[in-house]
């Protein structure tokens, strides 16, 4: 059957248009494929882990809908948890568990002053299908000349990643941490994600 009529005549019609904007790629929150695959694999392997653990770091924020860039996966746990996770992921291990203390790249901003930030933890490092995984046991933070904080403790939230139920550091904990460090840009990104996930702007 031939086409009914092949129109090439421009035609203006008066219809109300709904204004909208196509988001830029950088505005869309998507976990990259390598990190996603590694996350799923880790979640499956650690499903029966007896020690408390949770996804942490930037990847965990992306999973929770926060618009940040993630380049590796981090897990927060206890010292015993780090040992247990290492046993389960031993074939991916690139650095065995050991106590690590280091200054991080970004300073804290407290009372308008910049302070160095150190973290120490019982840390193991892995390469899971090409993605870096850092496991931190009993992570502590020190700001400037103050005392070391207590090891970070948490009650995880849960997110289903393609059907795999994963414990994850609650955004509330991250937000409080960032606020304490004066990283308001990061706290603000969390706030943005929380607003998008709640009824009537949170």
């Amino acid at each position: 059957m031939p086409a009914l009529r092949l129109s090439d005549k421009p035609k203006y019609v008066s219809l109300p248009q709904i204004e909208s904007r196509i988001p830029k790629p950088e505005e869309l929150v998507v976990l990259s494929k390598p990190l996603l695959d590694a996350t799923i694999m880790i979640g499956k392997v650690l499903i029966d882990c007896t020690n408390k653990w949770a996804m942490a770091g930037d990847a965990a924020e992306v999973i929770s809908g926060v618009n940040v860039q993630a380049d590796h996966i981090a897990i927060l746990t206890t010292k015993e948890g780090c040992d247990e996770i290492t046993r389960k992921l031993v074939k991916y291990q690139i650095e065995p568990p050991r106590a690590v203390e280091r200054e991080i790249e970004r300073d804290a901003k407290v009372d308008l002053k910049l302070h160095k930030v150190w973290i120490k933890s019982y840390t193991a490092r892995f390469d899971v299908q090409g993605s870096r995984l850092d496991v931190h046991g009993d992570l502590q933070i020190k700001v400037g000349d103050w005392e070391w904080g207590d090891p970070l403790d948490f009650e995880p939230d849960y997110v289903y990643v393609v059907g795999v139920k994963l414990p994850i550091i609650p955004l509330k904990v991250k937000s409080e941490l960032y606020t304490g460090l004066g990283w308001m840009d990061r706290a603000s990104k969390i706030h943005e994600a929380v607003m998008r996930s709640r009824h009537m702007f949170g």
Partner: protein, 620 residues
């Protein structure tokens, strides 16, 4: 002055950006692939925070004005019940004529649905051959005069892996489908190789009663399958999903957009993944009005669309995916001369063509044999609200061929369920036009007093069997009415088939037993409603068939890869399609979308294979 603009050529041009198109876009722009993909929609991109958060609580504007939906002044459809009638256009989105609107923009109609899902069981894919084998051709002919029922090209087992992908992409919630063994040997139920990726929403007390009652009757209850995310989720494309906040403005008069993106649709599940790719281009507010075809090969060479300024754009491509909603999928093919149009004849053996053929309706007659009862001690509190499709429990035992139909006058049956959230959707203003003493004045006001704190639950069911395709129900172009651009509207020639009514008359007593077992009082079966007691005067947004997938290019538009193989003499094989309208018939579950979903994955796979062919043609 408006002008004509030729766009850079793409590998794949996607028509419409709804559920099915989202899958194709995401799959063809996966990391590592280099296809240039362009997707065109007539509406906007909806941002659920900015567009819905403060404006969706507008029952009049959403439920009646359909302010998020496809504007009827742009295009409508005409409807008649028989080929002898003059079809009249739908001019408003309100009952009793019409309340199911087309979607508009990215996400399509799934921006405003209740989130109901449910797989089709194995029988649904072979219902013609299974019925003839078990009960004989004469039985089918008696049940469905002028039957045009067809089997699917693939079996349930062959579609099952695609179901899994589709459910993962959209984060469906549930817990299996009632199969006692969950093995492929259980041919009566949609067994699953993987459970749904999210658990169901909490089951209501009425749902729990239904579960206990049906179990004691030997049935196999399972939580209603829902596309409203019950938990935070990340899909296989890495897109994070917010969970449902149970705000209650979800269901109701089909329906309310979601302000957290928990209601699954392409805009918040698949399209974001595609938009991350530099190979993907999204074109908004652009009305596709024609497909250009090559005169010698018949293949589609470009899609033509109007932009908001009235300019004509020509978008060339190698392959086209027709993901437009329902009858628009058919209309664009008829307008463009793509595929063999269906030509009706009063003698079934004399009909011809495939495009527009086999129309059925997922929505069923508004009059049918009904059963009702009251759970006196099961009240509720609707104020905490709920969502549109969680909380209830279903059984598949009274559908498909899960009971013996010997001596009955229908095939198939229905999914039966109970226990949805009492506050799942607003209901103050629902169906304008249904004016009666119960919907206005003092009687109406008296019913409002304790409306949100009911002290009892009313159970009611009209368990229609599914609608079957006949040679007399079809879609073509209306010779009288046009859209705003001057092109003919879609004309629906359609009425409900006897199978629907006859199923209700039989099944109602089965449901009566369930209600009684649940402890309901005053369980009453209404008077028998004969076939044809009500006539279709709306299009519904769950039209099925009309652009069918099938095993025969004479009667179906799409082959097993959802690739066009019509007309037989010169198939237009560079266009693929998927959607409810490609389902071979009405079905027994409320979601034709869920059944169409696997086809979108098949189509995406087919398009990749097609683009890899040395000599383009029909895929093996």
């Amino acid at each position: 002055m408006p002008t004509t603009i030729t766009e850079p050529a793409a590998d794949v041009v996607i028509l419409g950006v709804g559920y099915m198109s989202g899958v194709v876009a995401a799959e063809l722009t996966l990391p590592g692939l280099t296809y240039k993909v362009v997707a065109i929609t007539k509406g906007p991109y909806w941002d659920y925070v900015n567009d819905f958060s403060t404006t969706k609580y507008d029952e009049w504007g959403v439920g009646l004005g359909r302010k998020y939906d496809s504007p009827l002044p742009l295009q409508s459809a005409t409807i008649r019940n028989t080929p002898q009638q003059f079809a009249l256009p739908v001019r408003r989105y309100t009952m009793p004529i019409q309340y199911h609107a087309l979607g508009h923009g990215v996400g399509g109609a799934a921006q405003h649905y209740g989130g109901t899902m449910g797989r089709q069981g194995p029988w649904g894919y072979t219902q013609k051959s299974s019925t003839v084998t078990r009960y004989g051709q004469a039985f089918l002919d008696g049940v469905n005069p002028h039957s045009d029922l067809e089997d699917w090209p693939l079996t349930y087992a062959q579609y099952e892996p695609y179901y899994v992908e589709w459910e993962k992409a959209h984060g469906l919630c549930g817990n299996y489908n009632g199969s006692a063994t969950n093995q492929s040997s259980d041919t009566g139920y949609p067994w699953m190789s993987q459970n749904y990726p999210l658990p169901p929403s909490p089951i209501t007390p009425v749902g729990q009663l239904f579960q206990t009652a049906t179990q004691s009757l030997g049935y196999h209850p399972f939580p209603h399958v829902s596309a409203l995310a019950s938990q935070p989720y990340v899909n296989q494309y890495g897109v994070p999903v917010n969970p449902c906040v149970y705000d209650g403005y979800c269901g109701g008069p089909c329906d309310y957009a979601c302000e957290t993106g928990a209601k699954a649709n392409a805009a918040y599940r698949t399209i974001p993944a595609a938009m991350k790719s530099s190979n993907f281009t999204l074109v908004l507010n652009s009305f596709i009005f024609r497909l250009d075809t090559d005169p010698s090969s018949g293949l589609v060479t470009a899609a033509r669309y109007y932009d908001p300024q009235g300019n004509v754009h020509i978008q060339p491509g190698k392959v086209f995916f027709n993901g437009m909603w329902g009858y628009n999928m058919i209309r664009i093919m008829l307008l463009s001369g793509v595929g063999a149009p269906y030509v009706w004849n009063s003698v079934p053996a004399s009909v011809s063509g495939a495009v527009g053929r086999g129309l059925t309706n997922g929505y069923l007659p508004y009059k049918g044999t009904n059963v009702s009862g009251t759970l006196p001690n099961n009240g509720g509190n609707s104020y905490p609200a709920g969502n549109g499709s969680g909380g209830s429990v279903d059984i598949y035992d009274l559908m498909d061929d899960n009971f013996d139909h010997t001596g009955l006058n229908f095939i198939g049956g229905t999914e039966v369920g109970a226990g949805g959230y009492p506050g799942g959707g607003p209901g103050n203003i629902t169906f304008a036009g249904s004016v009666s003493s119960a919907s206005m004045g003092g009687t109406f006001k008296a019913t409002q007093k304790d409306k949100y704190l009911p002290t009892k639950t009313t159970l009611s069911s009209t368990p229609f069997a599914h609608d079957l395709p006949t040679t007399d129900n079809y879609i073509d172009l209306d010779p009288h009415y046009t859209d705003i651009y001057g092109d003919p509207l879609t004309r629906l020639t359609y009425d409900w088939t006897p199978n629907t009514y006859n199923g209700a008359t039989y099944l109602v007593n089965k449901v009566k037993d369930i209600f009684t077992k649940m402890g309901a009082s005053n369980v009453t079966v209404g008077s028998t409603v004969a076939p044809g007691a009500a006539h279709n005067d709306w299009w519904g947004h769950h039209l099925r068939g009309g652009c069918r997938i099938g095993t025969d290019p004479n009667t179906s538009v799409w082959n097993k890869w959802n690739q066009c193989w019509s007309p037989v003499s010169k198939p237009v094989f560079n266009i693929f399609g998927a959607g409810e309208i490609t389902n071979t018939s009405g079905d027994n579950v409320p979601s034709g979308t869920h059944i169409a979903g696997p086809q979108s994955y098949r189509a995406a796979e087919g398009i990749k294979q097609y683009l890899a062919l040395g000599t383009p043609g029909i895929l093996p």
